[in-house]
C-alpha cells in the first residue's frame, strides 16, 4: 500500500523523564521514529519534557516542544500546530496514556487528528484488564483466573476463593507500580490499597499466581495489510514472579522445542491481529515447564523496553518500521535496512545468544528492599552478545560495572547456608552470583532448581562454568587448551589469573598480564562477527559487531582514520541518558570532521547503540580487556573518554598505560582534578577559595580532622559517582556510624572530609581548546549546598546571582580550565557563601547538564568539545573567552525521582544523588518556567488545598514565614504539635493533627486519604522522630503526594504560586 498522502504533519509524543520502568529506550525509539517520518517528507512535531534526549534536538523534528506532557499542554500544541495525525505508540506508557486522555477528552476528534498505529479501542482492549480478559476468552487464549476489583474487600473475597498466593496488578500503571505477589491476607490488604491509589482508574487485577512457570516474550509486528511477523522471542532466566524488566533475559528462547515456540508464536499473531495493531506489540506468556499449558500474561500495544532490546538483539529496527507502518507502508515493501537487499517482512534469525542483565540502584540505596517481584526496580540494563550462553552471560556481568567480572561476588563465601537458601528462593539482584556460590559449595543442580525454579538448562551452564573455574585453578601450568576453552567461555584474562592465583599460587600465569602475554604468544585474539538479522544467509553491511573466540573475522578495515568513543554503559542513578546524549553528539562531530567514529557500548536502550549512529558499533563490555581488543582491531588515531561518564574516565589510565592515545583533556589533568591533594594544590596555586577539608585514611584521622574543621562536615569516599555514599554529618557519633556503615576506609580507599557550607550552589559547564574557554551558561540551584546537584532544581540563567559574582565565576572557570589544559568539556561546581565564591568540585568531562545547557543556550556543546578534541580552535569557530550572552527565556531543570517504586528508600534530598531523570520547563518568566518544570516532573499543583507541615526545630523559623505565604494564598495548613504551636504563635491559622504516636486518625491517614496536597517535612537527624518523618515521607511518595524535604524547594514553589495566583488582602486600615 502506498504512503497515506493525507498525513502531512504528525505529532509524536515522547515518554518524558527517565523513571524506573521507562528509560532511554524511548529516546532510541522516538529518535528512530522521527528520522523515519522525516525521511518520508512528513513534517514532524514533537513533544517531550525530557531535555536529555536526542529526540528533542531541534534537527530531529521540524518543531520540538520541550513542554509538560499533560492534557493541557498537549492540547494547546495540537491547537497551535494542527497535525493530521498523532503517533502515540513510541512514547512508552506516558505517550499511550496521553493519547487515551486526548481521545477521551474529545481533543483528537475536535481538532481532526487521526490516531496512528493503534486505535483507541485496541489500546483499551490491551490495557483495560476486563476488556483484555474478554478478548482473550474470545480468542481462546488462556489467562490465569482473575478478577477486577475496585475495593480491598472484593480482593480479599476473591483470594479466599481461588487461594493464595495471588498477584495484584493495578491498571494503567508503569512498570507494575503498586503491584506485587501476596501470600497472606495482610499483604494483600496493603498491596491492594496502594494499587488502587496508583491506578488512575482505581482498578486492580487480582490474579492467581503462576509464579514458577517459564516466562517467554514475543515481539510482534503487523501492518495494515495484515502481514504479521515475529521479530524476536525471549526467555527469562528467572521464572514468572520477577518483573520482566528485573529479570535476566536471553534471546532467543533456549529451552523451547519448535512446537512450543510455534504454539506461542501463533498465539502472539492471533492476539496482534485481534487487536488490529498497526505497528509493534509485545506479548508475554507464562509456560508450564511440564506441559503445553500456557497463559497470556500481558500485551503491550506499543513499542516497549523489550522491543528496544529485541531491536538491538536482532538488528531489526522495530521503532523505525512501526513509524513507516503508521504512514501506510506494508512490511513487504520496506527494505530491510540491515541487508539492504531483502525486505522487512521476514523473521530475523540469530546465530548468537543475547543476554540482558538489569542494572539495579541498590548500590546507591543500601537500605532499599532488594527483593525482586512484580514491581520493577532496575534503572537500566546491559546487553551482551556471544556464541555461547557462557560467553554471553560473562560479558553481560562485566558490563554491569558492579565490581566483578565473573560469576563471583566478594563476600558470598561468608553467607550462612540459611541465608543463601533464602536468597535463592526469594530472588534479589545478586541471585545469579549466589547460584554460582551454591554450586561452589557443592549444591546439587536439582536442589538449586527446587529453590530457584530456574530452568535446568541455565543452571547446568552455571554449574559447568563453576566446574571449569576449578579446572583453571587446578593446572600447575596453564595449558593452551585450557586457556582457549576459557576464552571461548567468556572468562577474562583477569578472571583466569585470579582463579589461578587462588588455586595455584606458585603455579604459572597468576597475573592478568602474564595470561594476556600467553594469549598473545598463541595469537589468541577474538574475532568480530556481524549482527545481520539473517544468520549470514544474505550479505549484510551493518557495521554492528560483537567479539567471540572463533576463526573468521568479519570486520572490513578501511583506509580512513578512526576515532574510538567509549560509551557510558548501563543507566544508573548518577550516570544517565545525559551521557549517551553527549556520546552521540561526539560521534556526529567526529564524522563531520572526516574521521570514522567507532563506538564501544553495552546499553541496549540507547541511541548510541543504534548501528546507524556510528561508522562501527562494537556491542562490548566497557571492560579494559574488551576495549583493548577493539582498539587493537581498529587501530584508532585516538580514543575519547570524556563523554562516557565515570565509566569511560576510569578506563583512561589503564588504556594510556597500554599505549593507547587518549585524546582531549590529558590523563594527568583528569588526575589533577580528581585526586584530592593535587586538586587542592591546583586551587591554592590559582588562589581560588575552596571549602576547607582533607583526605583521611583511617577512622581516627577522620575524627580528628572533622573536629578541627568543625561540624557539620561533608564526608565521602574519593573517586565517587553521583555523590555515592556522601553524607553530611553533624557529630562524632554520626561520623563513626558513617565510617562503619558506608565506607571501607584504608590507604587505598581514602575518605574526603570537607567543611560543609550552607550556601547557594551554582554550576558551570565550559568548553576549552587548551587556549580559549567558552562558558555557555551558569546554572543556579534552587536547593542550597548539601543537596546533590543532580537532585536540585537548576535555573538558567541564574535569578539570584549578581553580575559581579557571575563575572567572578566566569573568571575562576577560565582560570581552572586553562590551568588544567582542558581540551573538551569541564564541569565546575561552586558554592556561594557570604558573597564569596568557593569551588567544590571540578569534573574534567562531559556532565549531566550538557544536554540541558546545550538546548537552552543553543550552543552545541558536545559537538564543539569534540571539535576541540580533534584539534579545532574555538577562536576559528567564532567563539572567544568568557560567558556567552544570556538567553531571554528562563529554563528550569527539575529532577524526577522514582521513590514510589523503591520501598524503604529515604526520599529526603541530601548529598547523595537519588533522582533518575529530569524535565525542563522554559518560559519568558521564571515562575511560569518553574511551573512547567514542576508539572512536567509530575507534581500535581492545585490552586487550593491542604499542606501538611512537620519541620525540624532548626527549620521552624524559616518554615513559619513560608507557611504564612501559603496561608495567605488560601491553602489550609495542617501541622503536628511543635510545628502547629510555632504557627499559632506566629498568628497563622493552623489545624493541629495527630502525630503517629497520638492515635488515629493521624498524619499518615490524612495523606493516605488524599486530604493533603503537599507535604513539607524536614529531616531531624539522629532522633527517634526520624522514623516518624521517614514514614510520613514514604507515605507521601507512595500516595503520589508532593513531598518537599528542602525549604528551598518550598520557597520556590511559594514564589511561583504567588506569581501565578492571586491572593486576597483586606485594605489597610486607615
Amino acid at each position: 500500500m502506498p504512503i497515506n498522502k493525507e498525513l502531512k504533519k504528525i505529532l509524536v509524543i515522547g515518554s518524558g523523564p527517565i523513571v524506573i520502568g521507562q528509560a532511554a529506550e524511548f529516546d532510541y525509539a522516538g529518535t528512530q521514529a522521527c528520522q523515519a517520518l522525516k525521511e518520508e517528507g512528513v513534517e514532524v512535531v514533537l513533544i517531550n519534557s525530557n531535555p536529555a534526549t536526542i529526540m528533542t534536538d531541534t534537527n530531529m523534528a521540524d518543531k520540538v516542544y520541550i513542554e509538560p506532557i499533560t492534557l493541557e499542554f498537549v492540547t494547546q500544541i495540537i491547537r497551535q500546530e494542527r497535525p493530521d495525525g498523532l503517533l502515540p505508540t513510541l512514547g512508552g506508557q506516558t505517550g499511550l496514556n496521553m493519547a487515551v486522555e486526548l481521545a477521551r477528552a474529545g481533543v483528537l476528534e475536535r481538532e481532526n487528528v487521526k490516531l496512528l498505529g493503534t486505535q483507541l479501542t485496541s489500546i483499551e482492549k490491551a490495557e483495560d484488564r476486563d476488556l483484555f480478559r474478554e478478548l482473550m476468552r474470545e480468542l481462546e487464549q488462556p489467562v490465569p483466573e482473575s478478577t477486577i476489583i475496585t475495593t480491598v474487600e472484593e480482593a480479599l473475597r476473591f483470594a479466599e476463593e481461588i487461594g493464595y498466593p495471588v498477584i495484584v496488578r493495578p491498571a494503567y500503571t508503569l512498570g507494575g507500580t503498586g503491584g506485587g505477589i501476596c501470600a497472606t491476607e495482610e499483604e494483600l490488604k496493603e498491596t491492594v490499597a496502594s494499587g488502587i491509589r496508583y491506578s488512575p482508574i482505581g482498578q486492580c487485577l487480582i490474579e492467581k499466581s503462576i509464579a514458577g512457570m517459564k516466562e517467554i516474550e514475543y515481539e510482534v509486528m503487523r501492518d495494515a495489510n495484515d502481514n504479521c511477523i515475529v521479530v524476536c522471542n525471549m526467555e527469562n532466566f528467572d521464572a514468572v514472579g520477577v518483573h520482566t524488566g528485573d529479570s535476566i533475559v536471553v534471546a532467543p528462547s533456549q529451552t523451547l522445542s519448535d512446537r512450543e515456540y510455534q504454539m506461542l508464536r501463533s498465539a502472539s499473531l492471533k492476539i496482534i491481529r485481534a487487536l488490529n495493531i498497526e505497528g509493534g506489540c509485545n506479548v508475554q506468556f507464562a509456560l508450564d515447564p511440564q506441559s503445553f499449558q500456557y497463559y497470556v500474561i500481558e500485551v503491550n500495544p506499543r513499542v516497549s523496553r523489550s522491543s528496544a532490546l529485541a531491536s538491538k538483539a536482532t538488528g531489526y529496527p522495530i521503532a523505525k518500521m512501526a513509524a513507516k507502518i503508521a504512514l501506510g507502508y506494508t512490511l513487504d515493501e520496506i527494505v530491510n535496512p540491515v541487508t539492504g537487499q531483502t525486505y522487512a517482512c521476514f523473521e530475523p534469525t540469530l546465530d548468537y545468544i543475547v543476554s540482558k542483565i538489569p542494572r539495579w540502584p541498590f548500590d546507591k540505596f543500601i537500605h532499599a528492599n532488594r527483593k525482586l517481584g512484580t514491581q520493577m526496580k532496575a534503572t537500566g540494563e546491559v546487553m551482551a552478545i556471544g556464541r555461547t550462553f557462557e560467553e554471553s552471560i560473562h560479558k553481560a556481568v562485566r558490563s554491569l560495572e558492579i565490581g566483578t567480572h565473573r560469576l563471583y561476588l566478594k563476600g558470598v563465601e561468608q553467607l550462612s547456608q540459611q541465608t543463601l537458601d533464602q536468597r535463592l528462593i526469594q530472588a534479589d539482584d545478586e541471585r545469579l552470583f549466589l547460584i554460582a556460590e551454591a554450586f561452589r559449595r557443592g549444591y546439587k543442580l536439582q536442589q538449586i532448581q527446587d529453590l530457584t525454579q530456574i530452568d535446568w538448562w541455565f543452571l547446568d551452564k552455571i554449574e559447568r562454568l563453576v566446574a571449569f573455574e576449578k579446572h583453571i585453578a587446578s593446572e600447575s601450568a596453564l595449558t593452551f587448551e585450557t586457556l582457549y576453552e576459557a576464552k571461548r567461555l567468556g572468562f577474562t584474562d583477569r578472571a583466569i589469573a585470579e582463579l589461578r592465583a587462588a588455586g595455584q599460587p606458585s603455579g604459572s600465569h597468576t597475573t592478568e598480564d602474564s595470561v594476556t602475554q600467553l594469549r598473545k604468544e598463541h595469537k589468541l585474539r577474538p574475532v568480530y562477527k556481524m549482527v545481520d538479522t539473517c544468520a549470514a544467509e544474505f550479505e549484510a553491511t551493518t557495521p554492528y559487531y560483537y567479539s567471540t573466540y572463533e576463526v573468521e573475522n568479519e570486520v572490513v578495515q578501511t583506509e580512513k582514520q578512526k576515532i574510538v568513543v567509549l560509551g557510558s554503559g548501563p543507566i544508573r542513578i548518577g550516570q544517565g541518558i545525559e551521557f549517551d546524549y553527549s556520546t552521540v553528539h561526539a560521534v556526529w562531530a567526529i564524522q563531520k570532521a572526516g574521521y570514522e567514529a567507532v563506538i564501544i557500548n553495552n546499553n541496549p536502550e540507547t541511541v548510541s547503540t543504534d548501528f546507524n549512529t556510528s561508522d562501527r558499533l562494537y556491542f562490548e563490555p566497557l571492560f579494559f580487556e574488551d576495549v583493548m581488543n577493539v582498539i587493537e582491531e581498529e587501530k584508532p588515531v585516538g580514543v575519547i573518554v570524556q563523554f562516557g561518564g565515570q565509566t569511560a574516565i576510569n578506563l583512561a589510565a589503564p588504556l594510556q598505560a597500554a599505549g593507547v592515545r587518549i585524546i582531549g583533556t590529558s590523563l594527568e589533568s583528569i588526575d589533577e582534578a580528581e585526586d584530592r591533594k593535587k586538586f587542592e594544590a591546583l586551587l591554592s596555586r590559582l588562589h581560588i577559595a575552596q571549602p576547607k577539608g582533607s583526605t583521611v585514611t583511617s577512622v581516627d584521622e577522620a575524627v580528628g580532622t572533622a573536629q578541627s574543621l568543625g561540624y557539620p562536615v561533608l564526608v565521602r569516599p574519593s573517586y565517587v559517582l553521583g555523590g555515592r555514599a556522601m553524607e553530611i554529618v553533624y557529630s562524632d557519633q554520626e561520623l563513626l556510624k558513617y565510617m562503619e556503615e558506608a565506607v571501607n576506609i584504608n590507604p587505598q580507599h581514602p575518605v574526603l572530609i570537607d567543611r560543609y557550607m550552607l550556601g547557594k550552589e551554582v554550576e558551570v559547564d565550559a568548553i576549552c581548546d587548551g587556549e580559549t574557554v567558552l562558558i555557555p551558561g551558569i546554572m543556579e540551584h534552587v536547593e542550597r549546598a548539601g543537596v546533590h546537584s543532580g537532585d536540585s532544581i537548576a535555573v538558567y540563567p541564574p535569578q539570584h546571582v549578581s553580575a559581579e559574582l557571575k563575572e567572578k565565576i566566569a573568571e575562576i572557570t577560565i582560570k581552572i580550565a586553562k590551568e588544567l589544559k582542558t581540551v573538551g568539556l569541564v564541569n565546575i561546581q561552586f558554592v556561594i557563601y557570604n558573597n564569596e565564591v568557593y569551588v567544590i568540585e571540578v569534573n574534567p568531562r562531559s556532565s549531566r547538564t550538557v544536554p540541558f545547557l546545550s538546548k537552552v543556550t543553543n550552543i552545541p556543546m558536545a559537538n564543539l568539545a569534540t571539535q576541540c578534541i580533534l584539534g579545532s580552535k574555538l577562536k576559528d569557530l567564532g567563539y572567544s573567552d568568557g560567558l556567552w550572552p544570556e538567553a531571554d527565556h528562563v529554563s528550569v531543570k527539575v529532577p524526577v525521582f522514582s521513590f514510589a517504586k523503591l520501598r524503604r528508600v529515604e526520599p529526603t534530598l541530601g548529598p547523595e544523588m537519588k533522582s533518575t531523570g529530569e524535565v525542563m520547563g522554559r518560559d519568558p518568566q521564571y515562575a511560569k518556567a518553574l511551573y512547567k518544570g514542576l508539572i512536567g516532573a509530575g507534581m500535581k499543583i492545585p490552586n487550593t488545598g491542604a499542606i501538611i507541615a512537620t519541620v525540624a526545630d532548626k527549620d521552624k523559623e524559616e518554615a513559619v514565614e513560608l507557611l504564612r505565604g501559603f496561608s495567605s494564598l488560601g491553602y489550609q495548613i495542617l501541622a503536628t504539635g511543635g510545628t502547629a504551636a510555632a504557627l499559632q504563635a506566629a498568628d497563622i491559622h493552623v489545624t493541629t493533627v495527630n502525630k503517629l504516636s497520638e492515635g488515629t486518625p493521624n498524619i499518615l491517614d490524612l495523606i493516605r486519604n488524599g486530604e493533603a496536597h503537599f507535604v513539607i517535612n524536614t529531616l531531624t537527624k539522629g532522633k527517634e522522630p526520624e522514623r516518624d518523618g521517614f514514614r510520613i515521607r514514604r507515605e507521601a511518595v507512595e500516595n503520589g503526594v508532593v513531598c518537599m524535604t528542602s525549604l528551598d524547594t518550598v520557597r520556590a514553589l511559594l514564589n511561583m504560586l504567588e506569581t501565578i495566583n492571586f491572593s486576597s488582602q483586606a485594605m489597610p486600615s486607615l
Binding site: 532467543p252 517482512c345 545468544i353
Partner: protein, 378 residues
C-alpha cells in the same frame, strides 16, 4: 573425540564429535531455524546432506518421541557451533547426540559455523565429508570424490516407502505419493479427518486410479526433481482427473509435469523465516522452507500454470496453480514442523478444491452398473 569436516574446496574445520564415529560424505547446506533441529535431522528431504545449523546452541531441548518427521534420520551429518549435551525440556527422552549415534550419523561441534555458512553463501553448496578418524586430508578428499553420483542422486527411492500403506480416516480419500514425505503432511491430513493412502514414489497412474482417491497429495522429498522422471509422467497422466496439491519436491514435479522447468539455486532456502507473497492478495506469509531447486520463472509461460506465490526476497517462484485443472502447489512447507504454522490453511484450500471438483464432477452411483456386471449383462 575429535571430528573434522573437509569441504570440496579444501577447507578443513576441526572440532569435536557428538555423533556417530566414522565418515560420511554429503552436500553441505545450512538451515537458519533457531528451533526445530529434531525435525530437520529427521526430515527425509535432507537425505544425504550434511546440515549446518546456523543457531550456535543445538541440543538444548533434546529429542522427544513426538517430533520426528521420519523414523530414521536421513541426513549424512550435523554441524553445530556448540552441542548442548544436557537437554532440558519436559518431553526430552534422550539427546540429539544419542539419536545420531544410534543411526550412524556423524556430528561435529565447536567449529566456526558462521564462517562455514558464509562460505556456502558465497560459493554455493558443495560436497563435504565429516570424519572422526585420523585419516589424512588427501585420503578424505579421495573418499569424498569417490562417493558415487548415483548415491547422491537416487535419494527419492531411498526415502520413499517401499510399500503402500493405509492411514485410515473418515473423510476424503487422499493418495499421498511419498517422495520422502514428512510426517507433518500426514499429521495435517489426519487432523482434517482424511483417509490417507500412502503410496511409493513409483506407483503408476492406474494403480492410483484403482485406489479411487478424492485428491492426490504430492509430498516433499530430497534432491533434484529431474531425478524422478517416472513421477513426472504419472502426475501428467492424473492431471485434470483428480485434484492435486504439491508440496516442495511435489511442487517441482507438478511444474515439470505441466511442462515447466526447474533449476538449482546457489545455496537454497532452508529455515523458518522466508517471506512468501500471495500475488492474488498481496499478503505476505512467513514460511518454512527446505529446497535446493526451484521452478524456473521464465519456463511457466504456456504451460497452463500461473504463478500464485513468489519469494519476497529473491522473487523466485514459490507457488503455482493450473489455470484449467484442479491442481496447485507450493515450494514451501505448509505443514511447518518445524517452522511457522501460518500456512496450514493451504490444506483447507486443497479440501475445498476437492469438494468443488466433486460438485462439478458428480460420480454416478455404480450400483446399477455393478449389478449388470454381476448378471453378465455388460
Amino acid at each position: 573425540m575429535q571430528a573434522r569436516l573437509l569441504l570440496e574446496d579444501g577447507t578443513l574445520f576441526t572440532g569435536k564429535s557428538f555423533g556417530a564415529e566414522g565418515e560420511l560424505t554429503g552436500e553441505v547446506v545450512f538451515n537458519t531455524g533457531v528451533t526445530g533441529y529434531q525435525e530437520v535431522v529427521s526430515d527425509p528431504s535432507y537425505y544425504g546432506q550434511i546440515v549446518t545449523m546456523t543457531y550456535p546452541l543445538i541440543g538444548n531441548y533434546g529429542i522427544s518421541r513426538d517430533d520426528f518427521e521420519s523414523i530414521v534420520p536421513a541426513i549424512h551429518g550435523c554441524v553445530v557451533r556448540r552441542y548442548e549435551p544436557v537437554p532440558s525440556n519436559w518431553r526430552a527422552q534422550y539427546s540429539l547426540g544419542d539419536l545420531l549415534k544410534e543411526h550412524g550419523v556423524p556430528g561435529i561441534s565447536d567449529i566456526d559455523t558462521r564462517m562455514l555458512t558464509r562460505k556456502i553463501r558465497q560459493q554455493g553448496t558443495m560436497k563435504g565429508i565429516i570424519t572422526t578418524s585420523a585419516k589424512s586430508v588427501e585420503e578424505l578428499a579421495e573418499m569424498m570424490a569417490s562417493v558415487r553420483v548415483d548415491e547422491l542422486h537416487n535419494q527419492v527411492a531411498r526415502t520413499s516407502t517401499a510399500h503402500l500403506y493405509h492411514n485410515p480416516g473418515w473423510k476424503e480419500r487422499i493418495v499421498l505419493i511419498d517422495f520422502g514425505a514428512k510426517n507433518g503432511i500426514l499429521r495435517q491430513l489426519n487432523q482434517r479427518g482424511c483417509d490417507v493412502v500412502i503410496v511409493p514414489h513409483n506407483t503408476t497412474a492406474d494403480e492410483i486410479r484403482r485406489l479411487n482417491p478424492d485428491g492426490i497429495q504430492l509430498s516433499n522429498g530430497p534432491g533434484d526433481p529431474k531425478d524422478v522422471p517416472h513421477a513426472v509422467e504419472t502426475i501428467s497422466q492424473l492431471l485434470g482427473e483428480y485434484p492435486i496439491f504439491g508440496i516442495c519436491l511435489g511442487h517441482q514435479l507438478l511444474s515439470l509435469a505441466c511442462g515447466a522447468d526447474t533449476e538449482k539455486l546457489k545455496f537454497g532456502h532452508r529455515g523458518g523465516n522466508h517471506p512468501v507473497k500471495d500475488l492474488a492478495t498481496g499478503r505476505c506469509y512467513i514460511t518454512s522452507q527446505n529446497h535446493g531447486y526451484t521452478v524456473t520463472e521464465s519456463s511457466i509461460a504456456g504451460t497452463g500454470l500461473e504463478i500464485t506465490h513468489i519469494n519476497n526476497n529473491d522473487k523466485t517462484v514459490e507457488g503455482v496453480k493450473h489455470t484449467k485443472y484442479p491442481a496447485f502447489s507450493v515450494q514451501y512447507h505448509p505443514e511447518a514442523s518445524p517452522g511457522p504454522q501460518d500456512n496450514s490453511y493451504l490444506f483447507d484450500q486443497f479440501l475445498d478444491m476437492i469438494h468443488e471438483h466433486k460438485r462439478q464432477n458428480p460420480q454416478k452411483p455404480r450400483q446399477a452398473e455393478l449389478m449388470a456386471i454381476a448378471k453378465g449383462e455388460l
